[in-house]
């Protein structure tokens, strides 16, 4: 079954068409990558999926339900989580507090819960901490839970973003260039983490990535876009030998 169906998605910024007539499907419990040269429209497409940009035309179905032009927080509640290409941590909060934000969509205490502190609220707070710690443990930085996010090494800051997205308890996880700025060792750990996210947590993964080695290693399916349009789709092997893909990448190499 498809967990995500993108149908003829178009996004225009004035005269510029960032995403053009893009269609693809994502099977449940797979790892798929969206690739393409710089400026191809990958992040824009992600932003349409997660509600940060309102698509101009088309349809997006998540678990069979339309999420086209929905608000981001609603989409997160439905079970789609994302990370940002440029780190967007809550820098002056601790690592644990950062990850606790993810549990917001799965909890409910409000004004009176905060002021009167009934047992249900205390239980909820405990649960939030516990799940958040599990997520930190899963990405391997539980020992840094009480550090301020801004004081972490870059690679660890990336992990906080992943843990935070996992804490929303998603069914679909969208990662926007998660390997950017990581060293080879960290990239290898990322590969195994992505596999564990799918295998142990049963979460479907959609990935934007520049590192071709990494993409080829983890993806079961790859969609290639250029100038906002889909130019190829298939397995790593199929995409690698596609002449249009080779042209798109070779023609743009100097820009990277």
């Amino acid at each position: 079954m498809s967990i995500l169906e993108v149908k003829k998605l178009t996004l225009r910024f004035g005269g510029l068409t960032a995403v053009s007539n893009l269609s693809f499907e994502l099977e449940e419990n797979t790892i798929m990558s969206l690739i393409g040269p710089n400026g191809a429209g990958k992040t824009s497409a992600f932003n349409c999926l997660t509600g940060f940009y309102k698509g101009s035309e088309g349809e997006i179905l998540f678990k069979g339900q339309s999420i086209f032009r929905q608000k981001p927080y609603r989409i997160t509640k439905l079970g789609m989580a994302r990370t940002f290409q440029n780190l967007r941590l809550f820098k002056d909060m601790t690592v644990l507090e950062n990850v606790m934000s993810g549990m917001h969509s799965r909890t409910s205490a409000g004004i009176f819960g905060a002021i009167l502190r009934p047992p249900s609220q205390l239980r909820e707070e405990k649960k939030i901490k516990q799940v958040s710690k599990e997520c930190l443990d899963f990405v391997g930085i539980l020992d840094k839970e009480s550090r301020l996010a801004r004081n972490l090494a870059y690679g660890d800051q990336r992990r906080v973003e992943w843990a935070r997205a996992l804490a929303t308890q998603p069914q679909l996880l969208l990662l926007d260039e998660p390997a950017a700025g990581l060293n080879q060792d960290e990239k290898d750990q990322l590969v195994s983490l992505i596999r564990r996210i799918r295998k142990d947590l049963g979460i479907t993964v959609l990935l934007i990535e520049h590192d071709m080695g990494l993409v080829m290693k983890v993806s079961e399916k790859i969609v290639v876009i250029d100038y906002g349009q889909k130019i190829a789709e298939g397995t790593a092997e199929e995409v690698k030998n596609n002449p249009r893909v080779i042209e798109a990448y070779l023609g743009k190499e100097d820009e990277e």
């Binding site: 997660t50 927080y73 940002f84 967007r88 941590l89 969509s105 004004i111 009480s146 550090r147 301020l148």
Partner: protein, 318 residues
């Protein structure tokens, strides 16, 4: 006694104070509690006024400090509370029963101002809240039920357990209770799911929304809570003064409360307390030098803001 020591200790930890500071806090609390035994009427009056502004500053701190929203019309909520209590008491309602109505009306005012405007950028929000403050004051000036330009007079003094509260000492303790409640509520809100949501939004609204937080609803909660602090303070203000007039709620009033929050350090509870105390006490202490004191006051504020833009209260290091 052991219990109260434990309580002080917990309080100290929540406020992030060291042991020596904790002792200082205990001594300070004792002084505040015993003050009416030694002070004359004038000092008690000033101290009561200080407590009153602390409640307002703690309320505005939730909007400005916790949620990071601009509000240049906070006096409007305080006005709504004061007038609601004043009017309902004129109709014969008991003071204590007017409080929930005052809260309700000020929360409604908070929703009216916040609902449509919280989607706006913060500079627009500044203008809208400023306008809202002025509209409230001008409306009070022109309506019959609010007593027009001369306002409401002859508001009854409330009583508690048959004892009529009409001494300054009564109001001193009444406001002290309000301050303690306001501090407890402010601390609890800060350390809650809602308090964290405000902080997430303040740090990065997009990231917060990606985590499933509804920014408009969360900000609206800040407005509603801030408004109810203002409304409660207003209700007590009305019975303390026994008379209220529209000019009490002018823009300078909103500006003063905002100044207290910024001066103390936005988002910090001890900061809001310190800021409010400073703003009330300074002009009183320098009363002797007449008009010069406002000039000195202004210069001092500018100097503080240049050298401590983060406010008087020190930042907590993580």
């Amino acid at each position: 006694m052991g219990n109260s020591v434990g309580l002080m200790d917990r309080f100290r930890k929540i406020l992030g104070l060291r042991k020596t500071q904790g002792i200082l806090l205990a001594v300070l609390s004792l002084l505040v509690i015993l003050l009416p035994l030694v002070a004359n009427n004038y000092i008690e009056e000033v101290a009561t006024n200080t407590l009153f502004y602390i409640v307002l500053a703690l309320g505005l701190n939730i909007v400005v400090g916790y949620a990071g929203l601009v509000d240049l019309g906070y006096a409007a909520f305080f006005a709504v509370g004061a007038y609601t209590t004043g009017i309902f008491m004129k109709f014969g309602l008991n003071f204590w029963l007017t409080i929930p109505i005052a809260i309700l009306f000020s929360v409604i005012a908070g929703i009216i101002i916040g609902g449509p405007t919280l989607r706006l950028r913060s500079d627009y929000l500044a203008i809208v809240t400023l306008g809202f403050g002025e509209i409230t004051r001008i409306t009070a000036r022109n309506l019959k039920i609010t007593g027009g330009a001369s306002g409401l007079v002859g508001i009854q003094r409330p009583s508690i357990f048959g004892h009529i509260l009409n001494q300054i000492t009564d109001f001193y303790y009444l406001f002290l209770v309000l301050v303690v409640l306001a501090i407890i509520i402010a601390i609890r809100l800060h350390n809650s799911r809602l308090g964290r949501a405000w902080q997430y939004i303040r740090e990065d609204e997009d990231a917060a929304e990606a985590m499933g937080i509804d920014p408009v609803k969360t900000k609206l909660y800040a407005y509603m809570i801030g408004a109810s602090f203002g409304g409660i303070a207003g209700a007590f203000f009305a019975v303390k003064m026994t008379a209220i007039s529209p000019e009490t709620f002018a823009f300078t009033q909103s500006a003063l409360i905002l100044l207290a929050v910024i001066l103390g350090g936005m988002g910090k509870i001890p900061g809001a307390i310190l800021g409010a105390a400073f703003l009330v006490l300074f002009p009183e202490i320098f009363r002797g030098i007449g008009q010069m004191r406002m000039l000195l006051f202004g210069i001092l504020l500018v100097i503080i803001m240049i050298f401590r833009p983060q406010g008087l209260w020190p930042e907590r290091k993580g």
